[in-house]
Symmetry: D2
Amino acid sequence: MSDLSAAKAALKSQRIETPSWAYANSGTRFKVFAQKGVPRTPQEKLDDAARVQEVTGVAPVVALHIPWDRVDDYAALARHAEDLGLRVGAINSNVFQDDDYRLGSVTNPDPAVRRKAVDHLLECVDIMDATGSRDLKLWFSDGTNYPGQDDIVARQDRLAEALAEVYARLGDDQRMLLEYKLFEPAFYATDVPDWGTAYAHCRALGPKAQVVVDTGHHAPGTNIEFIVAVLLREGKLGGFDFNSRFYADDDLMVGAADPFQLFRIMFEVIRGGGLGPDTAFMLDQCHNIEPKIPAIIRSVMNVQEATAKALLVDVPALREAQRTGDVLGANAVLMDAYNTDVRPLLAEVREEMGLDPDPIAAYRRSGWAERIVAERVGGTQAGWGA
Amino acid sequence: MSDLSAAKAALKSQRIETPSWAYANSGTRFKVFAQKGVPRTPQEKLDDAARVQEVTGVAPVVALHIPWDRVDDYAALARHAEDLGLRVGAINSNVFQDDDYRLGSVTNPDPAVRRKAVDHLLECVDIMDATGSRDLKLWFSDGTNYPGQDDIVARQDRLAEALAEVYARLGDDQRMLLEYKLFEPAFYATDVPDWGTAYAHCRALGPKAQVVVDTGHHAPGTNIEFIVAVLLREGKLGGFDFNSRFYADDDLMVGAADPFQLFRIMFEVIRGGGLGPDTAFMLDQCHNIEPKIPAIIRSVMNVQEATAKALLVDVPALREAQRTGDVLGANAVLMDAYNTDVRPLLAEVREEMGLDPDPIAAYRRSGWAERIVAERVGGTQAGWGA
Amino acid sequence: MSDLSAAKAALKSQRIETPSWAYANSGTRFKVFAQKGVPRTPQEKLDDAARVQEVTGVAPVVALHIPWDRVDDYAALARHAEDLGLRVGAINSNVFQDDDYRLGSVTNPDPAVRRKAVDHLLECVDIMDATGSRDLKLWFSDGTNYPGQDDIVARQDRLAEALAEVYARLGDDQRMLLEYKLFEPAFYATDVPDWGTAYAHCRALGPKAQVVVDTGHHAPGTNIEFIVAVLLREGKLGGFDFNSRFYADDDLMVGAADPFQLFRIMFEVIRGGGLGPDTAFMLDQCHNIEPKIPAIIRSVMNVQEATAKALLVDVPALREAQRTGDVLGANAVLMDAYNTDVRPLLAEVREEMGLDPDPIAAYRRSGWAERIVAERVGGTQAGWGA
Amino acid sequence: MSDLSAAKAALKSQRIETPSWAYANSGTRFKVFAQKGVPRTPQEKLDDAARVQEVTGVAPVVALHIPWDRVDDYAALARHAEDLGLRVGAINSNVFQDDDYRLGSVTNPDPAVRRKAVDHLLECVDIMDATGSRDLKLWFSDGTNYPGQDDIVARQDRLAEALAEVYARLGDDQRMLLEYKLFEPAFYATDVPDWGTAYAHCRALGPKAQVVVDTGHHAPGTNIEFIVAVLLREGKLGGFDFNSRFYADDDLMVGAADPFQLFRIMFEVIRGGGLGPDTAFMLDQCHNIEPKIPAIIRSVMNVQEATAKALLVDVPALREAQRTGDVLGANAVLMDAYNTDVRPLLAEVREEMGLDPDPIAAYRRSGWAERIVAERVGGTQAGWGA
């Protein structure tokens, strides 16, 4: 099998997980601009996700967020997904939007609040059981805004205790994915601020606990692909929350701010053997001003383009240049792949998959955008609050 | 007059402006935690501001925000302020919370939206006339999220045109204060991202246009006191939006994150002759998790402490050390003032002003906190949306 | 003339200026790794620069640095350049490497040191006269390491005075290019830290004073293309010091760290009418570990590739998408150009210029690298100190 | 024992380690400004360190750097230290200043270079044996400047292998302290860039491997005290390299840039039980423009002042406020300690230790500064290169 056909095969088998909440309204603390046609229910979010899968062929998995996607019958929701050619991905817990969580959830000084938070996490595992989801994704907004507000170490102890209880509840084929974030909404000390903290907790918990890298959650200047490479070396990379940023956690479309960085990340993923199903390639984005479905399609395409370029790196030439200390030569091998226009290759891949070579055009032609604006009238649009 | 009595006199005449919206609910994009007793009307915000003035004696000015403080009769609102021993400070325009402003206000590609935005700014000048306010404060969230989304230069041209129209409307004793901000809510290119841009526009407009420095609106590593010094040298410092930050625009209490920076800023203010009434010393903070009135009192006190320390710098000794190139000696003169505990001095100042030496304790004793929780039942709490 | 032929014409007429010091040894404060074959004299630096011009055809200008390129007869040096098909570009002053400059040069508290510094700047104008150079490039490392060390405003006053004296000395066709830098080697307050400060001084001086944008001299998160656009709008962009960085002033090859940013910068240059000879496109890089001449060739090519992509943007389509508020469409137009592989186009351009389509290969074949290693034996290699 | 006497006892038993190289010349890549009287030999560095100990009483330990402090007889050097009332602290290895290390030391692609680097590290353990030093401090400048230059994971493997060999060589009472650094001199990917990487290696090695926190080695916005707290919780904090920074690794005097941060760090040290001898409190600074010995004395005093303030925190009141969720109250408890002027307390401590209450004045009076300028004539001043 030639390198090109291997690359095509890898591109066809790649799976990108889209988040239910990206189909709903989002915004900044200053304003949420509502968009017409936005889903009002978890089912409608899945309907939109099915359109993304229809035109891309690599996005059959949809992450849910509890309570934003709370339903009475999760098994029925999973069947709805299945009927649409989808399956349920990560279950994202939410322990940051109740008034009780003002001073934290699992790290709150108040044991009653901690109990409530852990109970919610355990409920999420129940939902995993009901939906067949493999991954429990944990992001804690917990932290403090002012020095002295709470004890940093005590909060770590409480965190460890909560994680241990949830870890014990996981089934044999289930995983816990722990996400870190530098800041926001906590502004002084976040309880899981960096990969080191997430890694230390996951290592202590065991093999079912893995780290999630959200590409928008780092300090300026952080080398994200280094973290990816190290986590893969340690067997601790559970997945990604993809998005892009110029400043902080901007949650723009992945690949929009620094496509070269995305390429370098995908190169380390491939080099570390992480392109397969054990890594969850999730999007986590906010389409505050742009239409949501096309933005998600575009994001999926951006990940595909970065992956394709990374697959085209001439690794033997790279290794030889590295081995001989040829700095410019090694860099040139990498840049040659990056500078390649892979859009024709991806068009071919899509055609071989029976898809339109241009997913955006295919979506436009489908009339879905006009249909949801016409049909989704009344009711309450979904957003971060519901 | 000794240096100490000069310092005391300066501290007594200092004026700190509190923002009406800081008395209301605020939060992050993730959650607004409502607090009991929060005002429901502009009048109630002023009632709370009066408590801050009552115990500090240096905060008699209250900035308003339109439309959050929209009332039918602005003259009546100004009289309500006056009855409470307050006066109306800056009128803050808001051209970021209408759906029309999704792609910008005064820089929007759509001329109809620009017209609407400019009309709002002109309305704010009407409100200044009605309330006796001197300062129109302009912060534009305008910008773009994606490269290519709009033309950077065309947006500058539209901005200049809008500012010119508003500038022409200002009365003889009125000013336009233009604020800059690195990012958020725009994530790729903000139209007024830095002091250089604000300065260039203000210079082109004329003497009534001045720059506002929000201490949370800079890139990491920016030397804010340098900007303050340069703006004062150019005659273009209109005022401050004080708050503090560890990461981005965190809007924590001023002095909470880096009190030494606040001291250095106040030192440059004093050195540049900017401590008087031509500089508006405004707070602009979000008390997301802490009680609002005590947080504002504490913030006023933090500004006072930084000012007191800056006033205590032995300037002749500093100048001599600087002149002779004594690096450590000059730094030591500055640090001597910073390391001084000025709380006893401020207690004296307060007693000489007929105030309690401990404003926080005085507020606690007043029973106001309990009273507003008991009385402000029903209605809609004020927040960023209203 | 088609768009493609216009793009080709623009690419053929583009001029990139290489710095004499990039051919010499450089390093970090930790270590300078000497390379074999490095020039020992200004003449040998020009010999190397001629090789870059030979294979790229767009780099006939070489910036000099005084005193690193000090010679007895500057007219002879200029003739040597001319004989090699080169001309002398910017004269870079150096007022940071004498022991006298420990506390600053033109902003030093000691008037004798300031006099010495200004005299050096005036000498640089003499050298411009002798060499036919148009641009005096001023970078001041001046600043302070500790708060209080010197008076920020007094230093601005001294700076303004020095600049005014030098400005008055400029000939009719000469310019002063003022560079800013956030930090390093000053660590507390740099006297020209940002574009706003450089702009304010240049505006006060007059039309012959222009700002230089060094792409490595900004705080994290700064939008450099915004600054470029604004300076062009104000008629104050004098030129670039190109390089790239992941963290601070890393001085890596331009385009190596964030090629998308370089593309965006070149797009704003073209949009603002700045691609012509009034903008000096200089490299300012340190090839600490890689061979210097090939690194400079590669850098020139990287600038060409970014320029080519920027020239390919479908501007009418972009403007239409911007006008109608089509966020994703406008972004897609820009990305289409960026994602194009322009290497074939540039190969064509080179062939039409009578050059080898592959400059790196042509340089390799020339045997120059081996020749300088063999011939440049003995003597003192050039570096930042000489 | 009262809290105050406990604080005094802690301050008296505190030990701060000064680095031999801080007494020597240092600078930036732009210029090293030589200072008169600077030591020419390791012995003279110790002579200067003895002056710091003489006036502060808490700095009897001196870190050495190999090869900068290379001598024929290390036992004799240790005796010289002892005669001066000093002892040898950490042995700092240097695998970054040989031409062989251009592409790395222990992570170099060339096995011969790796062998050389490991041999140097083993030699440093020999020197520890000879001098009675407990700590081997490892800082690796290893990394890459360009994407693709070398394989990130392979470099981690080589690093792990080298560390394991050195770890095996350590004696029972010896430790390995592994330092991390975000960037510089490597500009793309540093091999030990963050605490997570250092922690993962130290954990794999065993209990004698500990992490060193250099306060200047983090990305902007990093919460250093959080890292300190977490490392102490994991039993992995080996010590500090203290200095301060506004931007990058500025290596200014500790406490000069953000004294509140230093206080918060010391508070977490005390809270985590890390004030004792198991934590090495080392300075690692560059006194580029200020006189070195007074700068080091000042630095020691700054650490003492931060420690004193941290010791004065009313911990029971803090815990009670934290337990009850009193955000402002808890913050106020911390700030009360920070705002205290502890200089009188430290003057008392010094007098009780038989020292002058003002170490700077005592040093000035000693005449040492004038003596070394007069006596240290000729020879080669020590610096980073020797």
